[in-house]
């Protein structure tokens, strides 16, 4: 493998580290070790993605990560006290809570309130110990393995959330996942791998947030596989409001069964750089896949949303709405791929990406990408980039509303289009309040 060393920023130390880490995992079931080896081989094939790669053309995260972080070592498990992260907790949310610190489950801060008949919630490491064959079987169903960061994560992440919603169960309380990186003593690199295994006719709502405790650099690599059973329903909310030292690459792959519904809402408010890869594979008929995103960014924050939805069967629907409001020197990227395969007749696929640039230094790169092989489908996409409409602003001002407030009202309306897709009232109100405060400042 020597010829691969230094290819796209992969060093010899790095290789040594990961080969050793694989050896350490010999107690894992063979299928899982194979999954990791395959992922590592894929990663070494590509190295870190550079801007020469089409998928990372507008988002130069690799160079920054390699410069800042020592990938040859993983941050160890840290002990944190509740007071260290209390400020990041969502107030008034009655939920099942899992807390992860540097990628490892902190059981002492976690609590489950929903009955075991509805849902089994574990750390992934615990789930592997308990039923290695089941986890290996789930991972063998994954098909999306191109992304280098996904492969990097897959080769090393050992813990994360394992959520198994039982057949016909409606989970009464949302599941809240807090991922903390602890950079108080040194830079933190944390990997987490989540699996949501949602059985037929089940229903569940999951919320995740990432926060860097401390003021040094942190990198959170998260990867989530969501298996949605037939006629099941999942709401998955991602709240990204980390500090200016926090880097994140977040890959989510949703594999949906017939007649299932999934809503994924990504709200990005802060951080250094965030890359979201959100992919849906529709493995049946009658599926609804909804993806909504809001980027409300300022200063130097950069957020890249790459999404794809793969329509493989007839009578499915996908709805995508991503909105961005960019101020300061912030940077946004949107790429939305829609594939409609030959058999996927009667597909409805809609995509819209609307961006407002509030400053001359903010940038947005947006690219819709539709590939349609079926002939009896309804697909549309639209993208707008612009400023606040002067006519609207004047109308509000002409009624006595001050310029700043008028501007905030118009931007709030843009943001609410996405925020209103959040079905959880507590979360929705919380996010609305943060946004209102930000816009009125």
């Amino acid at each position: 493998m020597t010829q691969l060393v230094d290819k796209n920023m992969v060093t010899e130390e790095f290789l040594l580290r990961y080969n050793t880490s694989l050896e350490e995992r010999e107690q894992e079931p063979e299928a899982l070790v194979k999954y990791r080896e395959e992922a590592l081989a894929n990663f070494l094939e590509t190295g870190f993605p550079t801007r020469k790669e089409e998928e990372y053309k507008y988002f130069d995260i690799s160079k920054k990560l390699v410069d800042k972080f020592d990938f040859a070592r993983e941050a160890g498990a840290k002990v944190v006290a509740e007071q260290d992260f209390r400020q990041f907790l969502l107030p008034d949310l009655d939920a099942n809570v899992l807390v992860f610190v540097n990628g490892k489950l902190a059981i002492e801060h976690s609590k489950l309130v929903s009955p075991e008949e509805q849902v089994t919630i574990h750390g992934l490491a615990g789930a592997v110990k308990e039923d290695p064959a089941k986890i290996a079987d789930l991972l063998s169903k994954t098909t999306l393995k191109e992304d280098p960061f996904y492969n990097l994560n897959a080769s090393v992440a050992t813990d994360g959330a394992y959520i198994e919603v039982h057949k016909n169960a409606v989970v009464d309380k949302p599941i809240m996942l807090y991922f903390f990186t602890d950079s108080r003593e040194e830079k933190a690199v944390a990997y987490s791998k989540n699996i949501f295994n949602i059985a037929d006719n089940a229903q569940v709502s999951v919320i995740e947030t990432f926060h860097n405790i401390g003021n040094d650099d942190s990198f959170a690599s998260a990867s989530t596989e969501v298996f949605v059973g037939g006629n099941a329903h999942v709401d998955y909310y991602k709240v990204q409001a980390d500090n200016e030292k926090a880097f994140q690459v977040n890959s989510t792959h949703v594999y949906q069964g017939a007649d299932s519904v999934s809503n994924v809402v990504t709200v990005s408010l802060d951080g250094a750089m965030v890359r979201n890869n959100l992919n849906f594979v529709l493995n049946g008929t009658g599926i609804e896949a909804n993806m909504y995103g809001l980027s409300l960014l300022d200063s130097q924050t950069a957020v890249d949303n790459h999404t794809s939805v793969d329509h493989k069967f007839p009578h499915c629907e996908s709805n995508e709405l991503y909105k961005g409001i960019y101020d300061g020197k912030s940077k946004g990227v949107f790429n939305g791929k829609i594939f409609v395969r030959e058999d996927a007749q009667k597909t409805n696929a809609f995509q819209a990406n609307n961006n407002i640039l509030l400053s001359d230094d903010a940038t947005i790169n947006t690219k819709p990408q539709l590939e349609i092989w079926a002939d009896d489908v309804k697909c549309s996409h639209g993208c707008t980039n612009g400023q606040i409409a002067d006519e609207q602003l004047f109308y509000l001002k002409s009624r006595g509303i001050g310029a700043e407030k008028a501007r905030a009202m118009l931007l709030m309306a843009v943001a609410e289009d996405v925020v209103n897709k959040i079905n959880d009232e507590v979360l929705k109100n919380h996010i609305s309040a943060i946004i209102a405060q930000r816009l009125m400042k």
Binding site: D390, Q392, F394, L396, R399, A403, A406, A413
Partner: protein, 251 residues
Amino acid sequence: MLSIKNLHARVEEKEILKGINLEVKPGEVHAIMGPNGSGKSTLASVLAGRENFEVTGGEVAFEGKDIIEMAPEDRAREGIFLAFQYPVEIPGVSTVNFLKTAVNEVREYRGMQPMNSVEFLKEMKEKMQLVEISQSLLNRSLNEGFSGGEKKRNEIFQMAMLEPKLAVLDETDSGLDIDALRIVANGVNKLKSKDNATIVVTHYQRLLDYIVPDYVHVLYNGRIVKSGTKELALELEEKGYDWIKAEADII
């Protein structure tokens, strides 16, 4: 109340108003008529402070204050209201929320306590009857998907809520059928008092059957070329604008 002296204004490089003089006193209704392109809507926009119009000369005083450099929101707070010819659609902002914000910003400017929700709703219910506008319409996004008539009624409803001293109605009648016209005019008439004034900008005499003006001015080529009483409007209706143009062009 309003005193306009030798007002010149342009949009981009084109001079549109070329010396307007107009005095409006409390309790009066002035109609401004004129052929297309004469500068009627420009005058309305300049009074409200629309940014893309540049005042290049003259004076505009509202209650003794020079308003030319005043921000649009401050003009509104001082008591000037423009009913838009083309009300703007604002998705995501409900009319109720928008108006409550506007009413309270104006009250704050005038040193009054903000209205609470109960007071506001009571006030709203009262004013809704004036223009026969429904609650369901007001709960929707501002003007979004409203018919032409609904938009114009919403303008007059906003005027009723904001209780301006000077209302400028910019072609509020255009595109309205006779029932909608009656409702809108009726609303305007009910809001009339000895303390406020109205400037009605219109292309059609028809509106003036319902909102009876004290004075009628004819705007042509950026100037008021003729002023008179409501009989002038009837004469214009009968004879059109050509004789006015001919007279003005000779001068």
